[in-house]
Structure formats: C-alpha cells, structure tokens
Symmetry: C2
Subunit: 134 residues, 2 copies
DNA sequence: TTGTATGCAAAGCGTTTGCAGTGAT
DNA sequence: ATCACTGCAAACGCTTTGCATACAA
C-alpha cells in the first residue's frame, strides 16, 4: 500500500506551491529544502506514482522534457516564455479543431502551446528555435 | 565546405521520399537501403547540418523525439495517429490565438498537434496517454 | 594532396531500475 | 516485524562527440 513519507510530502508540496509546471530537477531542488538527502530517483518514482494516483498530471511540450503540475485542471493549454523558458497554464482553448485535419482523418484531441513573452519578461526577443535536449 | 557524399544523398532522399516526418532511426532504416554501412551518428550529423542549411526542419511533438521533414512547408501543424503513432502534416491553422493568453503575456507563435485516427487506422480507440520515452 | 565526412565506440543527459538498507505502519 | 520506500549506482534509450580512417574535391 501507499505510505506517507517525508519525501513524498516534500515532492507533492513542491508542486502544489509552484505556480507553474515543474521539471523533475526543479521538483528535486525545491523538495530538497525540506528533505536535504532526497535523491532524483525518488523524485521520478513519486512523480510517476502520483500521476498514476491521479494527483498529478504530466505536461509535455514540444521538444521539452516532461513537467508536472497538480491534476484537476481539466482540459487546458500552456504558454512557454521564449526568454525564460518557463511554462504557464493557459485556461482557454480554441475549441473544436476537427475541421483542420485532412479528409479521412478523425480528430479526437489536441495539444496547443503558445510561445512568447511571459508577464515577467517584457520586450519581445528574436525567435529562437525550440529543440529537444537529448 | 559541404561535400556531396553518398550518405548525405541517401539521407536527404529518404526524407524527400517520405510522405511524413521521420524519426532519425526511420531515416537510418530507409537510407541504409542505399548505403548499407551507414551509421546512426552520420544520420544525426547530417540531419543537424541539413537543418542548419535550411533544407530540413525538425518536427517536435509533445513527448516525442524529434522527427524531420523537408523545409519549405511554411507555418503548419501536425497530426499524430493514436493508433500507429505516425505523424502527418496538417496544412491548416486556427489563426490568431493571441487572445487565449493571460493578460500581460505576449503571444508570438504557437504549436498545435491534433490527435486521433489517421486515414489508414479506421475506428476510434481508447485514448492513451502520450508520454516522452526517456 | 588536403581536409571534410564517415564509422565506431565512448561519453552525455534525462529517466528507469536493481539492490540492500531504512523507516512507516 | 513487515514490507514499501529510499538512496546509490548501474543500466537504458536517444543523441552527441572523439578519433582514426576513408574519400570528395
């Protein structure tokens, strides 16, 4: 059965207190302030477990490693800042996009990512290519 | 300077002849029919070079490794089949999405991925979670 | 001939897993 | 006292890089 460990609490709290989806490493950094000896493997194991329990949900953006946020936010999208690279929730949706697909293709779902400048990063910068880092 | 090797031609051809974005491994498989001894490192090096030359462009989908297609397709989106996992181009776009972002956020670009059944994979299947594979 | 491109193998990076020890119940 | 959980290190999958050789020019 599920046990309540200091590690698990620290990991859950780190994500609950964040105002945006966090990378596993960011979760580790935050949770280590509560539990200094915490290891990255434990973070990954708990993230996976918490997702399976339905408490967290993964946030996958194009070319980015998975981030994690509290579940419960229903269908929504994300915004990534081209300056600070951080990701924010967007609680809006363009709606039905089924007519965009070619004939014969059946649309069941969609993912949308907006890019630009977040509230904290004022002026526009030259667009940079977004890519997966190994 | 750029040299014209059999390997580079085979790699370029593999992508040019495909009707969809290919994974590096798929490029390798296809190109090895022309150049049997071809190595995966050469594929990666040429993909990177061809992207920098502007001949190819990377296709990044949420939780997926990068695929590659010919450049020149201007702004467009992609469709991933939930059954066969393959990716197809979508030459349509919902248009201006800047009003979806929260106040203070400046939208400069967007990525959209549609999910469902491709032309070849008829009936709908239970949705499966899309995730990054290490 | 010259030096870029290739193939192989090793290294990197993020993520997962094996294992013995730790600690919640 | 159990047995799930943890930390560490090794293993993994994909991508990149070092190096000696091969080959386009």
């Amino acid at each position: 059965m599920e046990r309540n460990t200091r590690q698990r609490s620290a990991i859950r709290d780190a994500i609950a207190l964040a105002d945006r989806p966090l990378l596993p490493q960011e979760v580790l950094d935050a949770a280590q302030q509560d539990v200094p000896g915490l290891g990255i493997a434990t973070v990954y194991r708990n993230l996976k477990a918490l997702v399976e329990e339905g408490e967290l949900q993964p946030v996958n953006l194009p070319g980015e490693n998975a981030r994690f946020e509290l579940a419960g936010h229903q269908h929504h999208h994300h915004f990534q800042c081209l300056h600070c690279q951080r990701v924010f929730d967007v609680h809006a949706c363009p709606g039905d996009l089924s007519k965009l697909a070619p004939p014969g293709f059946l649309v069941e779902d969609h993912d949308l990512t907006l890019y630009g400048r977040c509230k904290g990063c004022a002026a526009p910068a030259p667009k940079k290519t977004r890519r997966k880092v190994a």
